[in-house]
């Protein structure tokens, strides 16, 4: 192989490697971060009609947004849904993760795929399917579920479940199943063994799973779209409905509040559980 010294793309000089790579990286972050920076910045603009440069800065839009009932209600509904979905996903997901982490058994792969499926089936497809299903349930039973809080809570529990299963399972990978067996052999009751051995080991995964579950529920748009109704609308849907009519600093203030809530949650999560491990 005499020709190994010739560079594969001949036009690229050796010295260009670092600048091109760093340039690509900067371009990527500009693409990803600019919409978020723009919305936060505009939320402080004094002028109602967006123009550059701004005439001045103000906090009035936050007051205006807080005074609008649709944003307040949307925020409260999203918060309540997030809490319910997180609790359900923990009650259902933590025991499932304990079984999955026990190791190989027939059907394990299938069960794991099934429990992670809500993450893979597109939100719009899953939302439409759940909506049709809940209407059929309603026709059969006479109880209204679609377009109620509890219909949304079911959808959001499914959004949250894969995250608790995944993160609790991840925190158990490599854990020696003999630790718990040793505790049991030495006379610990199953509940004591769980409390003293298993729980401390899974706690970071449970905390991270709960926070991720909450965030995934809080920001969901596609699945909720079909299921919201009068009086029960989530914050992302209120934002989208508003955006279809106008773009102004008030909506930027609402979006900034959501950005602040989510960022705080994630920075907090990162202290318990390295975020990069969740993907």
């Amino acid at each position: 192989m005499a020709g190994t010294r010739s560079p594969s793309p001949r036009s690229l000089s050796d010295g260009s490697f670092r600048p091109v790579m760093v340039g690509g990286c900067v371009a990527a972050f500009v693409m990803v971060l600019s919409p978020l920076v723009a919305i936060v910045w505009i939320s402080f603009f004094e002028n109602k009609i967006i123009s550059f440069p701004p005439t001045g800065y103000t906090l009035d839009w936050y007051r205006a947004a807080a005074a609008m009932p649709q944003f307040r209600d949307g925020f409260v509904t999203s918060l309540k849904l997030g809490v319910v979905a997180t609790l359900v996903s923990l009650i259902a997901g933590v025991p499932a993760a304990l079984v999955l982490a026990r190791g190989r058994f027939p059907g394990r792969e299938a069960i794991q795929s099934l429990l992670l499926a809500p993450l893979i089936v597109p939100g719009i497809v899953a939302g439409a399917a759940l909506y049709m299903f809940l209407i059929e349930v309603e026709l059969a039973s006479g109880v209204q579920v679609a377009m109620t809080f509890w219909g949304l809570a079911l959808a959001h529990s499914l959004i949250a479940l894969p995250w608790t299963v995944r993160l609790v399972t991840a925190s158990l990978v490599g854990l020696d199943p003999q630790l718990k067996e040793a505790a049991l052999t030495m006379g610990a009751r199953p509940l004591t063994a769980f409390r003293l051995v298993t729980w401390p080991l899974i706690r970071p995964g449970v905390v991270a799973g709960a926070l991720f579950a909450f965030i995934a529920s809080f920001v969901d748009l596609e699945k909720s779209l079909f299921l919201v109704g009068p009086g029960v609308t989530t914050l992302p849907i209120v934002i989208v409905n508003y955006l279809e009519w106008s773009i102004d600093p008030t909506i930027a203030a609402v979006a900034t509040v959501q950005i602040a809530v989510i960022s705080a949650g994630l920075v907090l999560t990162d202290r318990y559980f390295k975020l990069a491990r969740a993907f």
């Binding site: 490697f17 760093v22 919409p35 058994f105 027939p106 059907g107 809500p118 020696d176 596609e222």
Partner: protein
């Protein structure tokens, strides 16, 4: 319940003698109980609804009644028979493929740089700056692009006040705006999947190649990238699937005339109330995405061996 039975105890106990028969039985029954809530949730909230959706897609549409009647392929025939819907499918595919390609071009350098940054603090900041937008939700990011790209948005007013343009340039509500918006949504997924891959490959191979005289670009294209192929493929697949199913970005940034598949599902189900056709579009979307994912992974498997 037999599928849940725990056999193959050897792997659980690391090859040591298996626990007694009573223990095994207890494990088996406890596995069932521990899995019961989560499996019930997924069955009731996802599997049954999807089955019902498949049934709905072969029902005859009757505007007067929501009951599912008849078995017919007329909805599928309508979708594949009308150029209008095939156009929407084609447009969705073109948008998804262009977004995936651009995400790859921008994502590879970004992930490579993050994986090779020496300062731990800077690396943490860069990873957080990737993950936080990823979990921010589509509504907020679409809002960000709208204030940037609108006729009276930040970019146009900045260009106007700088005297570079006389009239606002139309960016929002065009196909390019949708692609821009989607790239911003998908890029973090690409960067985060590639970053861990480059991290795992490590610097040893590159250094070896460069020690033996390979210039940096050759080392990168001939050594590092081929090693990262499986990760690159899964990153592209993730971007493609998410782009195919995008809803918020095309609706808000593309406007009513730029139609894609996922918004059509919503329109048919909620605005037209034609559930059988909405179900058909949803299933066509899922099937096309699935077939292309499987086909591309088989093609790559042939070329690069086991992925």
């Amino acid at each position: 319940m037999s599928a849940l039975a725990l056999t193959g105890e050897d792997s659980l106990t690391g090859g040591l003698p298996a626990p007694g028969a009573t223990d095994r039985r207890r494990r088996r029954s406890s596995a069932g109980w521990l899995l019961f809530p989560s499996l019930t949730l997924v069955l009731a909230g996802l599997v049954l609804p999807l089955a019902l959706m498949a049934r709905t897609s072969v029902a005859h549409f009757d505007a007067a009644s929501p009951d599912l009647v008849g078995f017919t392929l007329e909805n599928y025939a309508r979708f594949f028979g009308e150029p209008f819907y095939l156009m929407i499918l084609a447009r969705t595919l073109v948008v998804a493929l262009s977004c995936t390609a651009i995400c790859l071009v921008l994502g590879v350098p970004a992930a490579f740089v993050i994986s090779r940054v020496e300062s731990r603090a800077l690396k943490t900041v860069l990873i957080l700056a990737t993950i936080i937008p990823l979990l921010m939700g589509n509504a907020v990011r679409a809002a960000g692009w709208m204030v940037l790209l609108a006729d009276k948005g930040l970019i146009n007013s900045a260009l106007l006040s700088a005297g570079l343009i006389a009239e606002p340039v139309r960016i929002l509500y065009t196909g390019s705006a949708v692609v821009i918006g989607l790239i911003a949504v998908l890029l973090p997924f690409m960067v985060i999947s590639l970053e861990s891959v480059f991290e795992n490959i490590g610097t040893a191979y590159e250094e070896a190649a460069q020690t033996m005289g390979a210039p940096p670009w050759t080392a990168f294209f001939r050594v590092t990238l081929p090693l990262a192929m499986p990760g690159i493929f899964s990153g592209c697949l993730l971007c493609f699937v998410l782009a195919m199913n995008a809803y918020a970005t095309p609706v808000l940034i593309g406007g009513p005339s730029f139609q894609m598949m996922a918004p059509k599902v919503f329109e048919q189900a909620i605005k037209v109330y034609n559930w059988p056709f909405a179900a058909t579009i949803a299933l066509v979307l899922m099937a096309v995405t699935l077939v292309l994912s499987v086909a591309s992974s088989l093609a790559l498997q042939k070329r690069y061996g086991v992925l």
